[in-house]
Amino acid sequence: MKRLLSRSAAASSLVLVLLLAGHASSRPRYGGTVHILLHDRVNWIDPAAEEDSPAARDRIASLVFETLTTADQRGQVHPLLATSWSSDLSKKIWQFRLRLANFHEGSPLTAADAVAALANNPFAWKVTAGDRQTVDIESTTPVPFMPEVLAQKTLAIVKRLADGTLAGTGPYRLSQWQAGEHATLTANEDYWGGRPYADAIDFQMGVSLRDQILQRQLGPGSLAEVGLDQLHALEQGNQNLSVTQPADLLVVLFLQPDSAAGGTGKKPVDPRVREAFSYAVNRSAISNVILQKRGAIATGLLPQWLTGYEFLFPSRDNPDHARELRADTAALVIIPPISLAYNYADPVAKLVAERIAVDAREVALNVQPYGESHLYKGPRSAVHADAVLLRLPLSSTNPSSALSSLLERLDAPQQSIASALSASRPEELFDIEQKALEDFRIVPIAHVAEAVWLSNSIHNWQQLPNGMWNLDQLWVEGAR
């Protein structure tokens, strides 16, 4: 009898295991390691530091460091480290109530930590602690979308410890860091939102997917950034791909040599030449061919899907007009060659820069593209180029926040940035964009989508429309 009972128990257990296994692919599982292959190399994880690959850095940093707020896939702002917020009527003074959370080294999150982290914000806000859990932010201009702005990863709450290390409150803690090569994040068991599913996330940086694409096989539990030029091959292989909206802005920024500081001795490019340049670029070819139709022609700074008004900006693809402008200008001044720097680590940027040079050549403008290693890091005056081709991520799904961030990265005047932060209506944002573009110093080229290749064992992959990853709910099949 006893033996029968034990046999029945064993059979029941087997049935239960089989039943559980049958649900394994649809129910989140704890454990396992997610392997993420990044194309770019990240040298420093600090979200506030300048970095050659800020988007990749933000992807790693967002798992370790959290912001006060966050945005969902629809762009709706939600509490993160701040549980609630309020403002005065002028929208200049904001108050954020912090949740009870601990940093990875064990200390509790306080308003003083948040104030210290936000003290060097790029918008010159005055940040003070109301009480132990309340943070007051005061701006000289109205900031109606302050919660959305605070969702930007560069405004994450980072605690700088005495030994020089950084501590965050995020679902993962940094356990291994090899700058530019490798990073390992392990699950934060004490995370205020509950332990994440995966035990660890392993980042490999500077990875070329050539072999994997040829074999059309990504390792189990892996996901990888892929270039748009690689999409076609993967799509033909019916691979699991996630492609965002065209969110990143591909833009040419003509530099203004800082004569006061000595600068490089170069003269800024003549405005008429900049205008001719703007009309010379064949954005359709770039969008349709180089970006494999995963991009959109950019006539403004923010994409159409975000603002709804980008179509109002006139199309600049007009080589005949560019030729006329160039000829008129050449009759008045000598047009020197335009050196165009692009991020040498970005093959798409290289191709776009070369295409711009080809198009410019057709209207008799001499554009000389070259790869630059530190395009996003350090002062722009250190770049010995007339113009730079930048790929700027959409930092927020809130137009006002996103525009202010873009303008800041495009060296726009503080007044424009403040205006963008204050703007609450689309027509105001449109005017700000139009003003920023009117002198052709900023020449939008395209909005670029981002693509991720996922192995089939990765589940609950979430990516915001602006390309940001949300990995705290990620789990790996077959882990436990």
Partner: protein
């Protein structure tokens, strides 16, 4: 220049010229040989280039054909023809180009639009219509410039067609021409490069030595080859330090235009080095030859020229009055015979001179005797007459004897005095005193002589005018007494020359290191012969002259280390110039009574 030196020079020149001629001939032969070798080497290299060019062309054709005929490419063409998105084919050519080691590969749509470019991916969409001109697509590889982001690059290209349901897609593939150059292995001294001449923009040199080439020097040659479509050659500096013979061979392209020029440079370093060596060796040989030649010639010419030099020295001795000199005539050759003849001639000349001196001495004695007879005969005749008158008066008219005696005695005394004067002149000439030098103001001396003769000139029946033009003359060194005597003799001579009156002129002037006194008259003048013999003792043109006056003048002037000359023209007087050395500054302190030899020494003679 001595005979020996002439001979030495002649030998040195002869040896030098011989060596130079031989060196020149060797150099010319070497030059010709090098030219032949250079032509052969150049020809070999050009043939090698052509072989490599053809081989590379065939390789490219095979590569492009392999791509065009591949299933994948045919599938691509079919998909494209069926309306597939060209964006998906943008990177299609790069793997093919990499696999086939092609530097350039374009996939072209039937309308000429670039679908994919391996070497310039960003150039998609732009049209390449240069080969779509209705003519058949060339099957052979050809040279053409390919546009790249870095500029125009000279390439060896090949076109192949990929057919897809009646539509033609084109593959244009190729490689840089540098590869052909790199495959060449030129022998030492040969260099090769290609000048790429794009339709637009500036050209460039290809090949390993491109950076060291000087376009400014090579461009005229390259342009000539391109314009004439034929090979051109020139000797130029290939780079900064290598002079070379450079051949420029135009390379045929897709069209009539020459897209590039093959440059083959053959360094002349070896030849120049050999030429330098020949020159150096020739110089050494010539130097040694000339040295040996000079030594041997010096020895030989010493033997030959010694008797001649002795002869010359003996002749010089004879010229200086040593008639006793003789040369050794021991040898039996021409030089010996010449020496014997010289000795005979010397003896003959010495004999003749002795005889001539004897004759002259006799003639002089005769002349002196004649002159003495003449001079003494004149006073003797009155003496004889006077004595005879005295005798006749004593015998015939004794009463008048006293008176006659007194008159005769006076006459006798006068004639005896005359005789004494004549004898005194001869005595004076034979005993001319040595001058006692002192500083003498020549002008003052002339003035005192003129003053002395003023009275006499006034007494002359014929009127003689004097003209005195005395210049600025420094003091001369001389004996004032003797100089005065010489000037007086010249004045007397001039007065005698103007029996019918005239003008006597005195002029002084400074002439370099001497002072010149000119005394001229307007008498009948002198013949050339008279001028030549005028200062000869006892020679006179006057009826009653002793012929000693001007001889005394010359003796005095000569003792003063001066010179006296006469110039005259028949019928227009004569002018005597007495040139006397100036007194030195130091002589101002000398005692006028000093030894004249001391003065001579002080005058630097």
């Amino acid at each position: 220049m001595s005979l020996r030196l002439k001979l030495l020079l002649l030998v040195a020149i002869g040896i030098g010229a011989s060596v130079a001629s031989v060196a020149f001939l060797i150099e010319e032969r070497a030059h010709e040989a090098f030219r032949r070798i250079e032509q052969e080497r150049t020809s070999t290299l050009i043939n090698q280039f052509r072989r490599e060019f053809d081989h590379e062309g065939e390789d490219i054709v095979h590569a492009v054909e392999a791509i065009a005929s591949s299933d994948a490419m045919e599938r691509d063409a079919m998909e494209l023809n069926n309306g597939a998105d060209v964006a998906n084919f943008m990177n299609e050519t790069a793997p093919y180009a990499q696999a086939q080691r092609l530097d350039f590969l374009d996939l072209i749509a039937p309308d000429g639009a670039i679908i994919s470019s391996a070497h310039w991916p960003a150039r998609f969409g732009y049209k390449q219509r240069w080969f779509l001109n209705g003519a058949p697509v060339p099957q052979q590889p050809f040279l053409k410039h390919v546009e790249t982001p870095q500029g125009s690059v000279l390439a060896l290209l090949c076109i192949r067609t990929v057919r897809a349901h009646g539509s033609n897609y084109y593959l244009i593939g190729g490689r840089k021409l540098d590869a052909v150059l790199q495959a060449l292995s030129p022998p030492q001294g040969l260099r090769v490069s290609i000048y790429s001449a794009p339709e637009q923009g500036t050209g460039e040199f290809l090949g390993p030595a491109r950076d060291s080439l000087d376009p400014a020097k090579l461009m005229p040659l390259i342009q000539k080859a391109m314009d004439q479509h034929s090979e051109a050659s020139s000797t130029l500096d290939w780079d900064m330090s290598h002079e070379s013979i450079i051949h420029a061979i135009p390379l045929a392209g897709y069209s009539d235009r020459v897209p590039g020029v093959l440059l083959v440079g053959n360094s002349l370093n070896q030849e120049l080095s050999l030429e330098r060596r020949i020159r150096d060796v020739s110089l050494v040989i010539a130097g040694v030859g000339v040295f040996l030649g000079i030594v041997l010639t010096a020895l030989l010419t010493g033997r030959i020229s010694r008797p001649i030099r002795k002869l010359a020295e003996a002749a010089g001795e004879i010229g200086q009055g040593n008639w006793d000199i003789r040369v050794n005539a021991s040898s039996s050759d021409e030089i010996g015979r010449l020496a014997a003849a010289f000795n005979r001639m010397t003896e003959e000349l010495a004999g003749q001179r002795e005889r001539l001196v004897q004759t002259e001495r006799v003639a002089a004695w005769r002349e002196l005797a004649r002159r003495l007879a003449h001079e003494l005969k004149n006073p003797l005749f009155p003496l004889q007459i006077t004595v005879e008158n005295l005798l006749r008066a004593r015998e015939n008219t004794p009463e008048q004897f006293d008176e006659v005696f007194r008159e005769s005695a006076a006459t006798l005394l006068a004639e005896i005095a005359n005789l004494k004067t004549i004898i005194g002149r001869f005595s004076d000439f034979s005993r001319m005193p040595a001058p006692r030098f002192q500083r003498v103001d020549l002008n003052e001396l002339v003035r005192s002589v003129v003053q002395l003769f003023q009275g006499q000139l006034k007494r002359e029946t014929a009127k003689i005018e004097t003209e005195v033009e005395l210049g600025e003359v420094p003091a001369v060194s001389g004996d004032p007494v003797l100089l005065r005597r010489a000037i007086e003799n010249l004045v007397l001579n001039a007065i005698d020359a103007m029996p019918n009156g005239g003008k006597l002129s005195f002029r002084t002037r400074a002439g370099g290191s001497s002072a010149v006194l000119q005394i001229s008259d307007t008498g009948k003048g002198l013949t050339r012969e008279e001028c030549d013999r005028l200062f000869t003792p006892y020679y006179t043109t006057k009826q009653h002259g002793t012929g000693l006056g001007l001889a005394i003048v010359q003796s005095v002037v000569s003792d003063h280390h001066g010179r006296v000359t006469v110039s005259s023209k028949q019928g227009s007087g004569a002018a005597f110039e007495m040139e006397l050395p100036l007194a030195s500054a130091s002589s101002a302190l000398e005692d006028p009574a000093d030894d004249p030899k001391a003065f001579s020494a002080g005058a630097g003679e």
